[in-house]
């Protein structure tokens, strides 16, 4: 029999279609679902309709199990809740409290899905893993380096969250949906008669109900018994004029417009947050424009480093269209990005990913 491949199954349409496709194509596969977060935790935050439909809910495990049965493959649920909390949730909370806006999905990909899960797959005898991510992996014929490329379907491309992958991880990962567009995947799911073929998609962070980060962080700290001193601070203009008060700078994100609680004739946006002084600075949309940023913690994928300034396109959030820029190497491995045109709402804590066309060169964290 051919080498075993472990399919990461979430219970959603994409990973379910991967399982069905690979089975059809004769691969020797087993389905594994990672139980990452107990949705019954922090029940006071639960959405009105309950935890249904979110990642790691019992419903999702039920769906994944049904799909595995339908496809006819062995299926297991593995519990990685402890690792997920340590590597993803706790850093997420810390980053938020430090005034940055982290992306837990990148942490999860780097430390859980392509690390713990790969190790787990290896431990049960699988040579590689397959996931439902929209991205492509190629190998450079000349250098032998593994390369990460954007998905054919730009609207679904997930390379923004995958820049943390190492050469070893890329060499053992399959993205069977990378060459497909979403409608093709949906059609395949229907053709395979998968029980989840018409299931909706979720876009929010899996462990944060309703996308309410502040409520999640408050609930999480309360559960941990961490008494946070009641904080408050000012909402000020760029000129320093106080427009109002708030109860914690972590409730604000750069670029945010709604829910500021201050009235103004012009639309106001959060320009910056400072957790030390608990100051939230607001201003006009134009004030969000910046031309430079510095990236730390860089993982080089298709390139092995940056010996000299180079041209690239840089993406600063998931749906952002990569913008032309020049990369300048700084000391200690950091990179300064100078955009040709100013970009809106460059947010500390988010990722910055460098591209050359569809090729992912590297990624790192915005300082």
């Amino acid at each position: 029999m051919s080498d075993l491949i472990a399919v990461a199954m979430s219970g959603g349409v994409d990973s379910s279609t991967v399982a069905a496709l690979m089975k059809r194509d004769g691969y020797n596969i087993a389905g594994l679902t990672m139980q990452l977060w107990n949705q019954r935790r922090l029940p006071e935050l639960a959405a009105e309709e309950g935890a249904a439909g979110r990642c790691c809910s019992l419903d999702d495990v039920y769906d994944a199990r049904r799909v595995a049965e339908h496809v006819g493959i062995p299926y297991y649920v593995v519990n990685l809740e402890r690792q997920f909390e340590e590597s993803v949730v706790a850093p997420f909370v810390d980053e938020y409290l430090a005034g940055r806006t982290p992306i837990p999905c990148t942490l999860c990909n780097t430390f859980i899905k392509f690390d713990q899960f790969l190790e787990l797959a290896d431990s049960v005898g699988a040579k590689a893993i397959a996931t439902g991510h929209y991205a492509r992996v190629t190998q450079n014929a000349e250098t032998g380096r593994w390369e990460l490329r954007m998905a054919r379907d730009f609207s679904k491309d997930q390379t923004y969250f995958l820049w943390g992958l190492t050469q070893d991880q890329l060499s053992r990962t399959l993205f069977p949906l990378g060459d497909m567009v979403k409608t093709e995947v949906r059609d395949l799911a229907i053709a395979f008669d998968l029980p989840v073929a018409r299931k909706g998609e979720s876009y929010e962070i899996c462990f944060v109900p309703n996308g309410d980060y502040a409520a999640f962080i408050d609930g999480y700290l309360k559960e941990k018994g961490v008494e946070r001193a009641a904080v408050q601070g000012s909402i000020v203009t760029e000129g320093g004029r106080e427009l109002g008060r708030h109860t914690g700078a972590h409730q604000f994100t750069v670029g945010q417009r709604k829910g500021l609680g201050v009235s103004s004739p012009e639309p106001l946006y959060v320009i910056a947050t400072d957790p030390k002084s608990q100051t939230v600075t607001v201003g006009a949309n134009e004030s969000l424009l910046r031309s430079t940023l510095v990236v730390r913690g860089i993982n080089w994928l298709s390139w092995s480093g940056l010996p000299a300034p180079a041209r690239a396109k840089v993406r600063i959030r998931n749906r952002h269209i990569p913008a032309p820029a020049t990369l300048y190497p700084l000391e200690d491995g950091r990179v300064e990005v100078r955009f040709d045109e100013p970009q809106r709402a460059i947010t500390p804590g988010q990722g910055a990913v460098f591209y050359s066309d569809d090729l992912v060169l590297a990624g790192g964290w915005i300082e």
Binding site: L4, A30, Q35, P74, Y76, V77, V78, N79, E81, R82, E119, L120, D122, S123, V124, G125
Partner: protein
């Protein structure tokens, strides 16, 4: 792929003889055992014949056998039945009981009863002396399992029963892992209450029994008709009871499985370095072997062996999927890491020497692979 079953402590297959009896009674005996007419009488006759067969297996009178839906209900009926009838007082149990006992005790604590959990020693034995130390003047019930489901370690019930008699407490034992497999005699064990479960020894799921010594009064869990001498309301599961009786009548013949279990255990210990039998120092069930493999993750090994066609388990089936390491192994003093690196092999009547030899090979291969990739093992925290 051929799949071999080494998880009999979770559940076992219905025995062919039992299946035949069961199918026949389901097809033909459909009367309600409480009905006056012919159909009811036939059902009642079958039910009582089954009760006599179970009683014969346990060495008790037929009227002392109460049919239940299984082991969990039998344990719950014993614990809640005794304690709620008294309405207060103290209960002594062990910290390595099945969740059917432990979680019932947790509920009793919420209801205001007091519970002392006696820890086993490092070989998994709860000594009579340790139970005696836990007893108080208001101790109304002592409940200690006959054999542990994860390690197979047999408990010194006669001594514990003597402690119960001395202090006037009722003695219950969860014999789900032993009844129908090895000889279980309620008089010899000194039990006042004894739980058993059909699906552990060749009967189907959904039928079990509680032995209630004459004179022991219980408050029922269920309220309804006056079935089972008003101890368990609900139309009797006649086919289930008939199957349980048939399985009981087959004889408790698992003793011979020890030969295969020893072959497995010795084979693994000979092939795999840094492997240890949990509970090795104690008298154990003939079918169970719980082995700790330094430096591996038990759950990964269970999946890996399943993909090679061997069904085993880490911990008990009732707690699988949970993050916590086995409470039984922790109670024996193992570290959480050691508890997580343990795997349970439980054999049954269907296993063959050929299957055992195949399992030894698969375990050796799996452990070698897991240790090769395990960081803790590579880092030298574990020495082979």
């Amino acid at each position: 792929m051929q799949h071999s079953y080494f998880d009999h402590n979770a559940t076992s297959a219905v025995a062919p003889e039992v299946l035949q009896t069961l199918a026949g009674s389901m097809a033909e005996v459909y009367g309600n055992a409480s009905s006056i007419h012919h159909f009811g009488q036939v059902a009642k006759q079958r039910l009582e014949a089954a009760r006599r067969e179970v009683a014969a297996m346990l060495g008790c009178e037929a009227r002392e056998v109460v049919f239940t839906s299984g082991g969990t209900e039998a344990d719950n009926l014993a614990l809640f039945g005794v304690m709620r009838r008294i309405g207060g007082g103290h209960l002594v149990t062990s910290s390595m009981e099945h969740p059917a006992v432990l979680n019932a005790c947790g509920q009793l604590e919420r209801e205001g009863f007091e519970v002392t959990y006696v820890a086993p020693d490092e070989s998994g034995v709860v000594s009579a002396a340790a139970v005696r130390r836990a007893v108080r003047t208001d101790t109304a019930l002592i409940s200690v399992m006959h054999a542990n489901n994860e390690t197979g370690v047999l408990q010194p019930l006669a001594g514990i029963a003597a402690v119960a008699r001395e202090c006037g407490a009722v003695f219950h034992t969860d014999a789900v892992q032993t009844a129908g497999r090895i000889p279980v005699n309620v008089r010899e064990l000194g039990a006042d209450l004894l739980s058993l479960s059909g699906h552990k020894f060749g009967a189907p799921k959904g039928i079990g029994a509680l032995y209630v010594r004459k004179g022991v009064e219980l408050r029922p869990l269920l309220y309804g008709g006056r079935h089972e001498r008003e101890r368990r309301a609900g139309t009797e599961n006649v086919p289930g009871a008939v199957a349980l009786g048939r399985a009981a009548g087959l004889g408790a013949l698992w003793g011979g499985i020890a030969t295969l279990r020893d072959r497995l255990e010795q084979g693994i210990l000979a092939r795999v370095p840094a492997a240890h039998v949990n509970g090795a120092g104690a008298e154990r069930m003939p079918n169970t072997s719980n082995i700790r493999f330094d430096g591996i993750e038990g759950e990964a090994m269970v999946i890996s062996l399943d993909l090679r066609g061997f069904a085993v388990s880490s911990g008990s089936a009732c707690s699988s999927g949970a993050v916590e390491p086995s409470h039984v192994l922790l109670a024996m003093g193992l570290s959480p890491e050691d508890a997580r690196s343990s795997v349970r092999f439980s054999l049954g009547p269907g296993n063959t020497a050929e299957q055992v030899d195949g399992l030894i090979e698969a375990v050796a291969g799996s452990v070698t692979h897991l240790r090769r990739i395990s960081t803790s093992f590579v880092k030298g925290t574990v020495n082979v």
